[in-house]
Amino acid sequence: MHLLFFIVFAGFCLAGAINLLLQSHPINSALSLIVVMVSLAVLYLLLGAEFLAIAQVIVYAGAIMVLFTFVIMLLNASREERTLGSRAALRVGFPSVVAILAIIATVILHTQGLGVARLSDGITSTEELSKVLFTDLLLPFEVTSVLILIAILGAVAMAGHDEKDLHRNSERTGEK
């Protein structure tokens, strides 16, 4: 049963990822990315990580990808064009991706002591997860939060700067 679910959703995941690359219209690619993220959430759920799974859906599929589609809609991005650079990236990119995946796969296959996941395995509750986060992993957790705060401040500073420029521009056009 577990294997069946895994194959189905891993299949969705791979199909979404391949479709993401094949589609020439950005909004289709964005939608395929959503499929990838939601199937990843199901794979997390199969491993018993319910909080992680739902956070994946809320944060990635629900918030970040909405902003992606938002930007695509706002810019009205059209079909991508094939240029010399994109063709070169295609030639070099695919072989190197295959090479990297092969290396990762060999390392994982040679790792000893990996367990087997079953549907009857216990689910890690949110309580257990937060206990680990706030005791054993407190330092990395808090450092990450500071990092995110810096990113937010950076975003606000950049947005504020742009607004000032806009005002200056509009004043300039007003003078003309």
């Binding site: 629900g62 909405v66 938002f70 809609m73």
Partner: protein, 348 residues
């Protein structure tokens, strides 16, 4: 219980809940038309059936029979996908809501809830956040300026208010120590109304924030800018007709009902009686179960009434006011509520 039994029970529950939900959606529309009519000193629908009670059924038949127009300039796959996504997400989230006390007969799973999930509250938030795509894609794929503007407004509004909505629920979750909706209800149920989260739990600020954010999330007045008819003709569903339009319409009302259910469960003690044990539970299990459903439906109905009342009373916000209100007022207030609640819980 074997897997086959489980599947049969689940299919049965899903079928019943879907039918009840769709009927509830239809009659919420009638409720709104009737109430807004009374607020504006007119009758509302009164011709079809006694008191206009058959109006929703006739409206449904009309939507099915109307000509289905697909404009030439639309991006077809997404244009067709969008209403399905909107209505699907609106109906899925009801699946984790417990309607009554956990009663099971003859070894069945609990009857009044489709799925008892540990993280039920988060599932509702996740499904709502996916529902944004229905609106966003409808607006984009319609290839029309009104639709696009409506969809942009809507996705910006929903992403902004989702934050305040999620943060306002943290206080309740901290008090219950669980995301499970059933556990959250049981934690409030000890002494009836006095221990409801909104009164005894001192979460009235959270409730206020939740209510505002929920009105914005469901695109309802006074935050109905995505479909402001005076500016955008119809908003994101301008180019949709017949049943596809009706699907967006139903999605909006289904979302209203879900929001009402969540507010009832989190702040108003869910299916439990407001009088606690002042009225002792009777001997008959089925009577008690029926009573619990009665209280739940009554509370949700009160929310729907409030929705319509607000729509009939308040004018629409301006767009910058909406964004300012969400980011500068609701979000800091929600964080304040989290800090205050956690301090109180630590002190106790």
């Amino acid at each position: 219980m074997t897997i086959l039994q489980f599947i049969l029970w689940s299919v049965l529950k899903v079928a019943v809940v879907t039918v009840v939900m769709l009927l509830a959606v239809a009659y919420t529309v009638l409720l709104e038309r009737k109430l807004v009519g009374r607020i504006q000193n007119r009758w509302g629908p009164s011709r079809v059936g006694p008191f206009g009670l058959l109006q929703p059924l006739v409206d449904g038949a009309k939507s099915f029979l109307k000509e289905d127009i697909i404009p030439t300039g639309v991006y077809r796959p997404l244009y067709l996908l969008a209403p399905i996504l909107a209505l699907g997400c609106a109906l899925i989230s009801i699946g984790v809501v417990p309607f009554g006390e956990p009663l099971s007969i003859a070894g069945s799973p609990p009857l009044f809830q489709i799925a008892n999930v540990n993280i039920g509250l988060l599932v509702i938030l996740a499904v709502t956040s996916i529902g944004v795509y229905g609106i966003a894609l409808a607006g984009w794929s319609s290839n029309s300026k009104y639709s696009l503007l409506g969809a942009l407004r809507s996705s910006a509004q929903m992403v902004s208010y989702e934050l305040a909505l999620g943060l306002s629920l943290v206080g309740v979750v901290m008090r219950a120590g669980s995301f499970n909706l059933g556990k959250i209800v049981e934690q409030q149920a000890t002494q009836g109304m006095l221990t409801w989260n909104i009164f005894g739990g001192m979460q009235f600020l959270a409730f206020f924030i939740y209510l505002m954010a929920a009105y914005a999330e469901t695109n309802r007045s006074p935050f109905d800018l995505p479909e402001a008819e005076s500016e955008l003709t119809g908003g994101y569903h301008t180019e949709y007709s017949s049943m596809k339009f009706a699907m967006f319409f139903m999605a909006e009302y289904a979302n209203m009902i879900t929001v009402g259910c969540v507010a009832t469960l989190l702040f108003f003690g869910g299916w439990t009686s407001p009088f606690g044990d002042l009225i002792p539970p009777s001997e008959n299990v089925f009577f008690d179960a029926g009573l619990s459903i009665f209280w739940f439906v009554l509370k949700v109905f009160a929310f729907l009434f409030l929705y319509v009342w607000v729509r009939g009373t308040l004018p629409r916000f301006r767009y910058d006011q909406l964004m300012n209100f969400g980011w500068r007022w609701l979000m800091p207030l929600a964080i304040l509520n989290i800090v205050a609640t956690s301090l109180w819980l630590a002190y106790r």
